[in-house]
């Protein structure tokens, strides 16, 4: 049922919300294309937005691997994001008060190792206990990490932040000089308003490539994990941990694996952000990032990887889209408007679709095992329909 080989059948196969999301996405893509062609939206800025969307998708993937799969309540998304961002910034930037100047791949590795250790440190004492202990401990952790970054100037530059961060491809063969060597392009789609594609455009393209690689790899890993016996144990824990224990599953170990996996993905988002923004400051660790990730996951449908992707894109659209409203005379500022919009979206989703827009629907069995046999009756849609989807958060 590939979309390319048989588009009609593939579309017929979609559930109503899937078709709806597809329709809205296509319309939105056309709208963006129009804005690009008419010059209303600069191509470089557009690519920056795509990068941001990928970053939020990564954050939601990470949280989904914890909350959506296993039911772990983690309020320190921003901390793990910050660890990723600062970890790679401090290893690679010229202005780094510690090491600095390393290859970004070293920064990536260090960031992931630090996030891994931190996830273990917070997981070991809390994951044996009831779910609320992790929630509270992670809330504290987020604040501790933020305050350390703000106050330990010898380590992090404090409130000044870290500047002089190279692009992720610095020091790579070919890639590092690609933006400069690519020819500048001048596209004329509408006479009179040419679109210029120069070095900054190519640099932004590389970033998009990078985030596509990060998010694509993560999506691939999570999708396979979700449909596996491993993911099934996590889903059992989410639904009823005692049942998993009675059936001989070491739930503590599974919760730890899920927590560490999610934390690493969040740190990956931070690493990407560092090389996208080329500056990190303590403000990047504000709890709002955690809030956005939660909204994205709940909106998309807890437990669903595609839902997390969708939620991440919606968040960026609301966050960045409101900036354009500056031009329009509105009785309300963009910042509060943004929060208002998100609030309205959450209330609407909780009221009309508490399980989220794209909850996981089909049964999750290792694909080769079900393909071997005759297909089951209509893909048991509606299995998740009753699911509360964590509306009580």
């Amino acid at each position: 049922m590939s979309l390319l080989s048989d588009p009609k059948a593939a579309v017929d196969d979609l559930s109503r919300p899937e078709a709806w999301v597809l329709g809205v996405s296509v319309a939105f893509a056309l709208f963006l294309l129009g804005a690009l062609l008419t010059g209303a939206l600069g191509p470089t800025y557009f690519l920056f937005l795509v990068g941001l969307a990928g970053m939020y998708a990564l954050l939601s993937f990470g949280l989904n691997a914890q909350w959506g799969f296993t039911g772990l309540i983690n309020f320190s998304v921003a901390a793990f994001f910050g660890i990723g961002a600062y970890g790679s910034a401090l290893m690679t930037a010229d202005s780094s008060p510690i090491a600095g100047g390393f290859n970004p791949l070293v920064g990536l590795a260090v960031a992931l190792v630090v996030a891994f250790v931190l996830a273990l440190l917070i997981g070991i004492p809390t994951l044996r206990l009831r779910a609320d202990y992790l929630a509270i401990a992670s809330l504290g952790l987020a604040e501790v990490v933020r305050l350390i970054v703000l106050n330990e100037r010898w380590l992090t530059n404090g409130s000044a932040g870290v500047r002089g961060i190279p692009s992720f491809f610095e020091g790579w063969p070919v890639f590092s000089t690609l933006p400069e060597t690519m020819p500048g392009l001048r596209l004329v789609v509408i006479p009179g308003s040419p679109i210029l594609l120069g070095t900054s455009f190519w640099r932004a393209s590389l970033n998009v490539l990078l985030v596509l690689a990060f998010a694509g790899a993560t999506f691939f890993v999570l999708r396979r994990a979700h449909r596996s016996p491993w993911g099934r144990v996590l889903r059992t824990i989410r639904s009823d941990e005692d049942l998993a224990r009675a059936l001989g599953k070491n739930t503590y170990s599974y919760k730890m694996q899920s927590f560490v996996l999610g934390s690493l993905i969040m740190a990956l988002a931070g690493v990407f952000y560092t090389h996208l923004n080329l500056y990190v400051g303590p403000g990047d660790l504000d709890p709002i990032t955690t809030f956005y990730a939660w909204v994205a996951v709940i909106l998309g449908g807890s437990g669903s990887n595609r839902g997390a992707l969708f939620g991440g894109i919606v968040i960026v659209t609301i966050r960045e889209g409101t900036r354009f409203l500056n031009d329009v005379a509105l009785p309300i500022d963009p910042a509060p408007l943004r929060l208002l919009l998100i609030g309205v979206v959450i209330v609407a989703v909780m009221r009309y679709r508490p399980q989220g827009i794209l909850p996981p629907q089909r049964e999750l069995i290792w694909p080769s095992a079900v393909d071997d046999r005759d297909p089951p009756d209509p893909p048991s849609s509606g299995v998740r329909e009753q699911k509360g989807g964590g509306g009580d958060e």
């Binding site: 099934r232 639904s239 059936l247 001989g248 599953k249 069995i365 694909p367 095992a369 299995v383 009753q386």
Partner: protein, 262 residues
């Protein structure tokens, strides 16, 4: 006190002088008994006698205040539930557990222990092995569902089936874990007589195939027909143990039930 300790040469489960109190209440009070391999042993007693507490102690959900639990000759006292399960003991719960968002056959697939696909690394390092074992387990799950005559429910949401069917699924899933001894907490509570009869047949059949059962049940007709021997628990300790006839004729048992637990 240890009247329950009849001589048993080949005990798959041995409980010795087990104690547990909640605050001032001794829920398990020096309980001692054993389950002989190959039997269907019944565990009865008035409400609040401490039967479920005993299950929780045996399976590692509660930490005992004193005493020991042995499974297959190994001391499992104080172990985690998954470790007790690794020694061959699986338990079900008094209230049916629902797996939200799974189909019946998906919920069944949680049962098999030590699946290759339960290791995260294997998912990427040995996807072929994972797929093979998943196919085998799925076939096995569907075979058991068929034996239990609920194969038509396989792709139904696991939360949308009746309470009795849920009990059947629980038993079927526990069987996929291939336990040597299976502890069932009130398997037919709230189950209609037809379904209860079906469950009884299944338990008997599985027992003939080699699984040992220890089951708690308030339905006297059910338990007296199925189980032998029967252990009677009252106020946390073993009152007596014997054949269904012996137990039914025992005045102390009648007193315990008439007098109420507490």
């Amino acid at each position: 006190m240890s009247e329950g300790a009849l001589p048993k040469d080949d005990a798959v489960l041995r409980v010795d002088d087990l104690q547990k109190s909640f605050g001032g209440l001794a829920a398990t009070d020096h309980a001692t008994f054993a389950v002989e391999r190959g039997t269907i042993t019944g565990l009865i007693g008035p409400n609040g006698a401490g039967k479920s507490t005993l299950f929780n102690l045996i399976s590692g959900f509660y930490e005992p205040d004193g005493g020991t639990v042995e499974v297959n000759g190994t001391d499992v006292t104080g172990m985690e539930p998954y470790q007790v399960a690794d020694h061959g003991l699986i338990r079900t719960f008094q209230t049916p557990r629902k797996l939200e968002g799974m189909t019946v056959r998906e919920a069944m697939l949680v049962g098999p222990r030590n699946q290759p696909g339960e290791s995260f690394v294997n998912l990427f390092a040995r996807p072929g092995t994972v797929g093979e074992s998943e196919s085998t387990n799925l076939a096995e799950a569907e075979r058991i569902l068929e034996e239990f005559e609920i194969d038509h429910l396989a792709t139904q949401p696991a939360t949308d089936i009746s309470g009795g069917q849920m009990k059947l699924v629980e038993l079927a899933r526990a069987m996929l874990a291939e336990p040597e001894v299976l502890l069932l907490d009130e398997p037919v509570a709230g189950v209609n007589p037809t379904l209860a009869k079906k469950l009884k047949d299944q338990i008997r059949r599985l027992n003939e195939q080699g699984t040992t059962f220890l089951l708690i049940e308030h339905d006297m007709e059910f338990v007296m027909d199925l189980a032998d021997p029967i252990v009677v628990l009252d106020q946390g300790s073993v009152l007596t143990e014997g054949t269904p006839e012996e137990v039914q004729g025992d005045d102390r048992v009648i007193d315990a039930y008439l007098g109420g637990g507490t």
